[in-house]
């Protein structure tokens, strides 16, 4: 009744190929967009700073990993390091070109991590699966080492950390640095994430995306049908690392404000892998679900447990949160191995035939 495509006739190929072919989907997206725009005027700075902004950034990183693992079928454990490459190159870019708008630099810094990603993607032409995961671990630990050992990357700071300088843009709005307001940073992140997500959605539905999926489903068969594994795999690595790099740059510039190399450790890689798996492999909307779940759950537990009258120290709550996240991951894998995105599409199917059991 509420959600049904019957009666919506497509009269041209263009309308048939649109991103959201169903009217109710368009209405839903519009509502979500309105909510996203309205949140900063309602919510507190803490909510924006600690929940919404990192959620959007991590969702973008999860989309990046999902391109590689979910669409192209190449398992990677080096996401954190690729995010680091983006962050450090953005930092160097803004040091060299202080007057260029930081948002342009954030988008440019992804190119550097894309390059690094292609280099570490080269072994994927010969090896696959768990073996490939180990080579991406090589990327993770090697790049982390570079962040520590190459002082040029952090401008020879004595602390070894990068501090985000204050940058203004669009007139005289403070975009980054300690005095930037939570709202500006939220809107900057929201803008970048929405634009990039739309672009990725179109890549994924197009020729390149279909090649990735062919490689994922069976690489030898895809090769026999004329897909070049070289271009398909390396383009997946490039796009994936680009997205991770942009996410990493935003992570530092719009969320953390300052970072040590350990911010991009293997823990971050795992966290993003969890988001992808729990959200659903090969689903963009799933990446958002996964990011919301993995990022939101510990925060929620930390808020809810003391509120329920279970008075325990902050450290214990943190340990319990880790434990619960681990248990929930196993639980979700057992109940729904295809992730939250699958639950979402099941829900839509149900809605489609509602209120009748058979449509």
């Amino acid at each position: 009744m509420l959600y049904r495509e019957s009666g919506q006739y497509k009269t041209s190929y263009i309308s048939d190929q649109s991103i959201f072919p169903i009217r109710e989907d368009r209405i839903g997206i519009a509502i979500i967009g309105l909510i996203a725009l309205a949140i900063p005027f309602v919510a507190s700075d803490f909510f924006l700073n600690a929940i919404m902004t990192p959620f959007l950034i991590l969702a973008l990183a999860a989309i990046g990993l999902n391109i590689l693992t979910g669409y192209a079928g190449q398992l990677s454990l080096g996401t954190g390091a690729f995010m680091g490459v983006g962050a450090y190159s953005c930092y160097k870019l803004t040091t060299i070109f202080p007057d260029v708008n930081i948002i342009i630099l954030v988008l440019l810094s992804g190119i550097f991590s894309a390059g690094i990603g292609v280099i570490f993607g080269l072994p994927s032409l010969r090896i696959k699966g768990l073996y490939l995961a180990v080579t991406t671990l090589a990327a993770q630990f090697f790049l982390e080492w570079c962040f520590i050992r190459i002082p040029w990357l952090y401008n020879y700071n004595s602390s070894g950390a990068i501090e985000v300088p204050e940058r203004r843009g669009f007139g005289d709005i403070i975009l980054t640095g300690p005095s930037a307001s939570a709202m500006t940073q939220y809107f900057a992140v929201l803008g970048i994430v929405v634009v990039v997500t739309l672009a990725v959605k179109n890549i994924v539905r197009g020729r390149i995306g279909r090649q990735w999926m062919m490689i994922r489903d069976m690489d030898i068969a895809a090769e026999l049908m004329g897909v070049r594994p070289l271009t398909a795999k390396l383009s997946a690595f490039a796009v994936s690392s680009y997205l991770c790099g942009v996410a990493g740059a935003m992570f530092i510039f719009f969320y953390l404000g300052a970072a040590e190399p350990s911010a991009f450790s293997i823990t971050l890689s795992f966290q993003i892998l969890f988001m992808v798996i729990l959200g659903g492999l090969g689903s963009l909307v799933g990446s958002y679900f996964g990011a919301a779940f993995i990022w939101g759950l510990p925060i929620m537990l930390r808020a809810v447990l003391p509120a329920m009258g279970i008075d325990i120290g902050a450290e214990t709550v943190f340990h319990i949160a880790t434990m619960v996240v681990g248990a929930l991951i196993i639980f979700f894998l057992i109940v729904e191995p295809h992730g939250l995105a699958r639950l979402w599409s099941l829900g839509k199917e149900k809605l489609r035939v509602w209120p009748f059991p058979y449509g």
Binding site: T69, L75, P123, R126, I127, G129, L130, Y131, A133, V134, T135, L137, A138, F141, F142, E144, W145, I148, R149, M218, I220, A221, L224, I266, F270, L273, F274, I277, L281, E315, T316, H319, I320, A321, T322, M323, V324, V325, G326, A327, L328, I329, I330, L333, I334, P337
Partner: protein, 319 residues
């Protein structure tokens, strides 16, 4: 030319100039390699029997060590604590089989891998919740492990110092591998394990219970983890930092092949010795600390030439 000299010639000159120091480095690498091999052994046991790549092996090492030390701190005598810890690892194996492996049977590899990463998180949280996050001292002397060291004289006045605990680690690892070999080849359960490793369905059809086998194999991996935990804990501390070191078992597995026990041992020794020598003789050229990634690079280069590992079965792909 200078750069070429310092890469290609100088390290070897140093090795020959100070043979005692070189031997010391070799020994350190050997001991580290034994410990890597032990962790890799735990991976191989589970991978062979269930095709699950057990990411949680590293945290099982930490967890076993923490349980042992934690029990001792509560006033339990050392040997009783050891037995109780073995019991805890047994319970863990049963729980993992019942609540993780059994519901996930027949799922794709990546889902199983993810479930063991989930298990890792659970055990980290659980371990920290019960024992706290601080590093602990391993109760080596209470367990009767030797301390102290022996020095050998080499050449003219050179010294090679062997820690007794390291020798004990090597010997115990050797004994354990021997026991595992006997267990796999001579006992009824061991033969069942090998049958399961060969072919799950065929094993089921001749009446081998997969669930039982998995529980046993996780228990065996738990005991290997406990041994590793004691040995590694005696050399440094028992802390959650070990978990990152345990990831070094992955390149070891790649060198040795995922299904081969001798491969795990040889791979462990290659990685252990290779990274120590690399760190000492080539590390200073790039500022040191290359130990953190050298093992992965060795594995990566190796993979390009031999994707199935030293002793792994040949990978055959069909469309």
């Amino acid at each position: 030319m200078d750069i070429l000299y310092s890469i290609l010639v100088d390290p070897f000159v140093q090795m020959i100039d100070l043979p005692d120091f070189f031997l010391q480095v070799l020994w350190e690498g050997f001991v580290a390699g034994v410990l890597y091999a032990l962790i890799a052994l735990g991976f191989v046991l589970i991978f062979k029997a269930s095709g699950v790549f057990n990411f949680a092996q590293g945290i099982m090492v930490v967890f076993a060590g923490l349980t042992l030390v934690g029990l001792h701190e509560k006033g339990v005598p050392a040997y009783l604590a050891l037995i109780l810890t073995i019991g805890v690892m047994g319970l863990l194996a049963l729980a993992v089989e019942r609540f993780v492996m059994r519901p996930l049977v027949n799922q794709p590899d990546i889902i199983l891998l993810m479930s063991t990463i989930g298990l890792t998180y659970f055990l980290i949280g659980f371990g920290e919740f019960i024992f706290g996050g601080e590093p602990k001292q391993m109760i080596a002397s209470e367990l009767g492990l030797p301390t102290g060291s022996t020095a050998f004289e080499i050449g003219d006045g050179g010294l090679l110092i062997l820690q007794h605990i390291d020798i004990a680690a090597a010997v115990i690892a050797l004994i354990m591998v021997g026991c595992l070999a006997v267990f796999f080849n001579k006992t009824r359960i061991g033969r069942a394990l090998r049958a399961v490793a060969d072919d799950h369905q065929a094993a089921l059809s001749v009446g081998i219970s997969l669930n039982q086998i998995w529980a046993i194999v996780w228990f065996a991996a738990g005991i290997v983890a406990l041994t590793t935990g004691i040995m590694w804990g005696a050399r440094s501390d028992v802390s959650f930092a070990l978990e990152i070191i345990a990831l070094k078992a992955l390149p070891v597995l790649i060198l040795g092949g995922f299904t081969s026990i001798p491969g795990a041992i040889v791979g462990g020794l290659i990685i252990g010795i290779g990274e120590k020598i690399g760190e000492i003789y080539w590390g200073p050229l790039v500022g040191g600390g290359i130990e953190s990634w050298l093992a992965y690079m060795i594995a990566l280069i190796f993979l390009l030439f031999r994707p199935q590992g030293l002793f792994g079965e040949r990978i055959i792909e069909r469309v």
